[in-house]
């Protein structure tokens, strides 16, 4: 199973990752602002993530880490 993790404090909520996800499971959460004042990106369906890393590739802030199954992170 793949896991997409967004660094909450580094993300600036630009939403470029949301345009890259082939599964359309990356979205900007509107629940909580980070300390810079941004709503940040999140994976809304971990089970559907295929770990293609397109969201991470698109991220201008290196805020996204992709871990594949058996991950220790």
């Amino acid at each position: 199973m793949a896991k997409m993790k967004v660094d909450f404090e580094v993300c600036k909520g630009c939403a470029l990752c949301t345009t890259a996800c082939p599964k359309k499971i990356v979205a900007i959460s509107h629940e909580k602002l980070n300390s810079k004042g941004y709503y940040t990106a999140e994976c809304i369906d971990d089970d559907a993530c295929i770990g293609c890393a397109m969201c991470a590739m698109m991220c201008p802030d290196c805020a996204i880490t992709i871990t594949l199954s058996g991950g220790d992170e």
């Binding site: 630009c14 345009t19 890393a53 590739m57 201008p60 996204i64 880490t65 992709i66 594949l68």
Partner: protein
């Protein structure tokens, strides 16, 4: 086991760029190439004056901050004194194609063994969005409030096409970073540039069509669309010259 994380050639310092600015993507691609080639300890980067002025805080290799437009001359000095090291410059459109045109053209025509990463986002970002040498006809900027009028302000410069005419150039390629497919191509082009340098085969320039959502007055996602619809037709993607000079 992490499958995708920040490359080692980038420091832990978070980028200061505006949300959605594609500088960050290009920084990462350069760093990934440095990682993959295992050359961080042998690389010296030159940053320009412009939004990426503080790139020296972001790259883990040795870094030099150049005066506005002079990065190719600074890179020449480093490279001539250290011919076995890798030297790259990272420059914006105002830096490379306006104030530093002479340095760019002459480093290229000398076949200086350096790699130039050229960020074309049609505007002076750091100073607040003035007309750049690459601003499109009709494009509104702070200093072309009625749109760039070629009769008054002249025409935008197509840098890759211009440099492709020079004998010293080994690679002149234009790419963009609007989507993962193009990002892969951009990275391949940057890698190619560093490989040319590794084999001492001449000057390489990779022009990256980029966005400036803040100064364009758009959301980052809108800016990507604007780039595709307006910049790509004027600045076609592709290889304009490729082949070892030496």
């Amino acid at each position: 086991m992490p499958e995708f994380r920040k490359p080692h050639a980038l420091t832990d310092v978070p980028f200061h760029y505006c949300p959605g600015c594609t500088h960050g993507i290009v920084h990462r691609l350069v760093a990934e190439v440095i990682d993959e080639m295992g050359i961080e300890g042998d690389t010296i980067g030159i940053c320009p004056v412009g939004c990426s002025v503080m790139a020296y805080d972001y790259f883990n290799c040795d870094m030099i901050e150049a005066a506005h437009g002079r990065a190719p001359a600074v890179a020449t000095g480093v490279k001539r004194g250290n011919p076995d090291k890798f030297v790259f410059t990272y420059q914006g459109d105002g830096d490379l194609a306006a104030i530093g045109t002479a340095e760019t053209v002459h480093a290229a025509t000398r076949g200086e063994n350096i790699t130039v990463i050229f960020i074309n986002n049609t505007t002076y970002g750091m100073t607040g969005g003035q007309m750049a040498p690459t601003t499109l006809p009709g494009q509104v900027t702070q200093t072309t409030p009625y749109g760039r009028n070629p009769e008054v302000e002249g025409y935008p410069v197509r840098v890759c096409e211009m440099l492709a005419t020079l004998s010293g150039v080994a690679l002149a390629e234009r790419v963009t970073v609007t989507d993962p497919a193009n990002i892969r191509k951009a990275k391949a082009a940057i890698r190619k540039g560093f490989e040319f340098q590794k084999n001492k085969q001449g000057f390489s320039i990779i022009e990256v069509l980029s966005t400036c959502p803040t100064n364009w007055g758009m959301s980052p996602v809108e800016a990507l669309s604007w780039l595709k619809e307006n910049m790509v037709p004027y600045y076609p993607l592709g290889v304009f010259k490729e082949g070892a000079v030496r």
